[in-house]
Each structure stands twice: as structure tokens, then as C-alpha cells.
């Protein structure tokens, strides 16, 4: 095992997957904000996350 090679590919994987994770987080956040705004426009309050 060459540790420099391992480090190099870890950096590549980490940055690409990190960016994909960042985009995924952004999509989820936007979807949540959109839901809240949609409820505001409809004049309803957002449903509670859990009913128990």
C-alpha cells in the first residue's frame, strides 16, 4: 500500500463526494423552505413532524 496514493485518492473522493453532499443538503433545505412558504401562501400552518 502506497500511502501517498491512498491520500491522493482519498482527497479526490472526499472533495467530489463532499460537493455532492453539499448539493444534496442544499436541495433538501430548499424543499423544506418551499414547503413552509407554500403553507404560508395557502394560509395553513405546517404539519408537525411527529404525531406521537
Amino acid at each position: 500500500m502506497n500511502w501517498y496514493l491512498f491520500a491522493g485518492y482519498s482527497v479526490i473522493m472526499g472533495l467530489i463526494l463532499g460537493y455532492i453532499g453539499f448539493l444534496d443538503g442544499k436541495i433538501r433545505k430548499l424543499r423544506h423552505e418551499m414547503e413552509i412558504l407554500q403553507n404560508e401562501l395557502d394560509g395553513t400552518t405546517p404539519a408537525p413532524e411527529s404525531t406521537s
Binding site: 502506497n2 479526490i12 467530489i16 424543499r31 418551499m34 401562501l41
Partner: protein, 228 residues
Amino acid sequence: MPEAAGRRTGGIPLLTVVVLLALVAALYMVFIYAPRERIMGEVQRIFYFHVASAWLGMLAFLVVFIGSILYLWKGRLIYDRIAACSGEIGVVFTTIVLTTGPIWAKSVWGVWWTWDPRLTSALVMWIMYVAYLVLRASLPESRKKLQFSAVYAIVAFLDVPIVFFSIRWWRRGMHPSDMTIDPQMIHALIVACIAFTLLYLLLLRVRLDVQRQQDRLDQIRRTILERE
């Protein structure tokens, strides 16, 4: 992979499937097909994705440049959005170049960094595009911001050909200006570049989808504020 629009194959977007297959093919070419380099050994395999990332960074910044010119010329918002999204992806891939390069250099030459023309101009390019993203994020949304960002991006692009031609213009430093390379290594490099180009297209598509949602959300917010 976050949701991407487009044709779907059993729930997964077609482009995502193509990118995953291309990346698997590139990994096979890099680690199994390409021979072990005689002098540098295994660590030379960093080369394939290091160069592919450099190619992609420059391609992404070329798209920023073209998008900025088109925005100033035609005034359509989509060109600004393409430029901004491409700039973000370009910074990610240039970060890969600037981190894998020193790891490779330390292993082969025993130093992390030297201020040779290629490394210095690449670092300057990275800083300029990070500044582009910071500039966009810090200014309030207005026509003036988009115009200023476009002008900045056009000026910033001046550094990209300097990075590309630096090893020919100043023949010194770690990067060779010409080299002979095993044909199998060239095949692996081409496949890695194709795989990363497809990955860039996918990321750009997803990033533009995110931007479109963000713009829609801002539009709804403005509508609510106007009503109040």
C-alpha cells in the same frame, strides 16, 4: 447523487448511470490496465485524475468565461447562472489539482510545493475564482451584481491560458514541457478525462436545478413581501 432531471432508467437518471459506468471504467484503466511507472512507482497513478481534474477546472472556467460574455451581450439570466454554477464546480476540481499535486510531489521529489510558474499561476487562478464565488455570495441580488460578476469573470479568465502555457513559456519547474508516455497510460488518461467531463456535465445539471429552485423560492418570497 442528488436528483437530476432527464431521462430515467428505473428511477435513476440516465446521465447518472452513464457517469457511474464511466468512473468505474476510468478506475479500471488507472489501477489495472495502465502499467506501473518504472521510476515513480504506484504513486504515479495520481497523475490520471490529477490531470483530468486540471482539464476539468480549465473547461469549467472556460464555460464561466463564455457564460459571462453571453450574459453581458444578451442579458439573459440563464447565462449568468451557468457561469456561476460552472465556476463553483471549477473551484472544486482545481482544489483537487492543488491538493493531489503536492501529495504526488512530496512522494516523488520530497517537497510539497515550489513556486514554479505552473503551480503559482494555478494557485492564483484558484484564488481568483474563489474570490468570484465570494463576490457573488456577498453582494445583494441585482442587475449590477450580475454585470460586475461577469466583467470580473472575463478578467479572471486571463490567468487560465497563462496556467496552460506556463510550462512552455517558462521551461522550468516540476512539470515537464514535453514527455513521452506509454500508450496504455495515454488510454487511461483519456478515459479518466472523459469520465470527469461527464461528471462535470452531471454536476452542472444538478447545480443548475438547485439554482432554479433557489430562484423560484426567491420569487415567491418577493411575491409575499409585495402582498404585505
